[in-house]
Subunit: 273 residues, 3 copies
């Protein structure tokens, strides 16, 4: 099997495909970010639905193009639904993305994240502390749902997690990384202000699920990071504070074209030893 | 019984009455749109409250002016509360609005929508796929929570549903329709960008509940559509994308006067055969 | 024990301390305001986390700097978690803030608020109707979650509640008041438009919890009111309606400095008889 090419052109192609196919993305996500996630998905050209009841999650997976599971405000009934939905997506061969929010902060949260990671997600996205915790690496740190470790420090943990879980693993931070355990893709873009607006990482995971409906996991993850990073950089550069960032980001996602993508994001790859 | 006159003047009068009386609107609605719904209600001059616990929904109906039930992120405990609240509103003769989000997407969702529609709502509002599904019409389609059918195609299904349920039925789309099964009101206004900002339809249902507190159902539904459509059109015309639409819509609802309403919305009626 | 000095300088010092220490603030709050609360906390310099499952609330309190409990959209499982978290915070001596949203509107809500108020919160913040209801005062009124009484009418009820509960009690309105039962601090600032954007009071309670992590309760409450009031006044003065207020408020919180604080807020104290 050859690796798919991962570069700006591949990201632009994936974006065009997403906008043409308008995938239906099912979200089982946290209360805080549902609105911004839905808005980011609409802006990029996907059709979002937030559906979490155990009574219907499996039926909904069957009609969806892809699935996002984000454990931010987890509780037992929701965890049951997450497991049902993940199992159904795996059974049907539908791509799904896991966002292990706050993994490492409490035993309950870490346990649920590990159980879901074992259900063959296509992509796992987190900050450095979350990924290191999920990988079982030492020194994961973490301050609630924020990372206390830089993203580059988590690349080897991400690679190990990718090899063990079979997922492409994404670590976001000042530079973003995506890896399938054999190749590491480094994506530049974004803006520091994005850490001061709630749900920016969670909405990125939702956008990643939209890309996963139209491209293989490593391309999808890298394209999502590049598109989101370029849009975030464009959005934040106009602002004096974080208040309007989510709205500006949606506008930037809506108008972003291949030319602006190439100007405001970078993608580079290297093989792992 | 004579039909109430439904025109722009009636809509302007209903708006003035709403602002004067500031109705307390109880919302049992989905997580995604709670914030934008509350903001739209505040901007138009109502007093919103989001209350869903089985332990208090009936007590709250007793002090509310009207009630919205939106099944977007339904689950069993919430459905129990929806049924209790609907029954209480019907028993007290208080107007209530049903938004059957995603009706047709899963069996669970379609069943709950049908059960609620049987509890004598004053108004039912949905997109074409949802209304056709709830009416049991063929070819309802639907893509998650988005419609795959135009609103004009759903008018006969809406009329049938209105006659069967006793509710005024609203179908929103490029043109909006409201019908009591005898008269069809067509309302022009709105903007395509409104389909790319989450909760626009759900917040309209909440605003409809506010109007239902101050006017009879067909007038209330038509007034809500005209006011919301005019405000949406004014808001969207200033924007390059959907990011700031919800905020601009609230500003437009807040400042809208009778003159701007008459300039940016149209209302026409015809009798059904 | 001497009273801490409460003035604009103390508020500016508390703000500087908050930004330096970046407290981790745990929120058990209502669905409507989670996003705006997280954004206000991020903008002011805190690290927010929304965590409510009974399975992890106590573990999370142990790593948090302070805790907010807001009963806006309460239901039994959440109330269980609120009580566990409050007990843990009290046991560990961690500051926690109670926002008794809608206290007085239903028997269930009033009962829960009273139970939580008995668990030794550091600060209780509400509007006049809520505080009067919680204090058991006559004439509390209230319209759903909005007050029907002016804040100055609630000062004596607030003082009685402060003495009984051991908490600093805050009543917000045209003028804001904070009292420990011995001193009353009156804080000027804010803007009427803030009553037309959902979650402004709830986000203030969250910001108050952030200040409670870095200052004693009466200073923390007064500093939060002054900072938030100054930022709100600056934000609202630029706007024609409430639509962009939450975003502008976050920007104002982000850029506010001691000079602007002193120019746009006032603090005065008087001893109670």
């Amino acid at each position: 099997m050859t690796h798919p090419t991962v570069d700006i052109q591949a990201a632009a192609d994936a974006l065009a495909s997403l906008r043409e196919r308008r995938p239906l993305v099912q979200n089982i996500t946290n209360y805080v970010v549902m609105s911004v996630s839905a808005n980011a998905l609409l802006a990029i050209g996907a059709s979002p639905a937030m559906v979490h009841a155990r009574e219907e999650v499996e039926d909904f997976v069957a009609i969806s193009s892809s699935l996002l599971i984000n454990i931010g405000t987890l509780s037992p009934l929701w965890v049951d639904a997450m497991k049902l939905a993940a199992a159904k997506a795996s059974a049907l061969g539908k791509p799904w993305v896991l966002d292990p929010v706050g993994c490492g902060a409490t035993a309950y949260r870490t346990g649920v994240a590990a159980q879901l990671a074992a259900q063959r997600p296509s992509i796992i996205r987190g900050n450095a502390s979350e990924i290191m915790s999920l990988a079982g690496a030492a020194g994961a740190g973490g301050k609630g749902v924020d990372s206390t470790v830089g993203s580059s420090d988590a690349v080897s943990a991400a690679s190990a997690l990718a090899r063990r879980s079979g997922a492409v693993v994404v670590v976001t931070g000042a530079t973003d990384y995506a890896t399938d355990g054999k190749t590491v893709v480094a994506i530049g873009g974004g803006h520091e202000l994005m850490t001061l607006s709630t749900g920016m990482g969670c909405a990125l995971s939702a956008v990643t699920a939209a890309f996963a409906a139209v491209a293989p996991p490593l391309v999808a993850a890298s394209a999502a990071l590049a598109v989101y990073g370029a849009a975030g950089k464009l959005a934040a550069s106009k602002l004096r504070g974080p208040g309007h960032l989510a709205a500006e980001l949606c506008d930037a996602l809506y108008v972003l074209d291949a030319e602006a993508l190439g100007r405001h994001a970078t993608i580079s790859t290297r093989a792992l030893a």
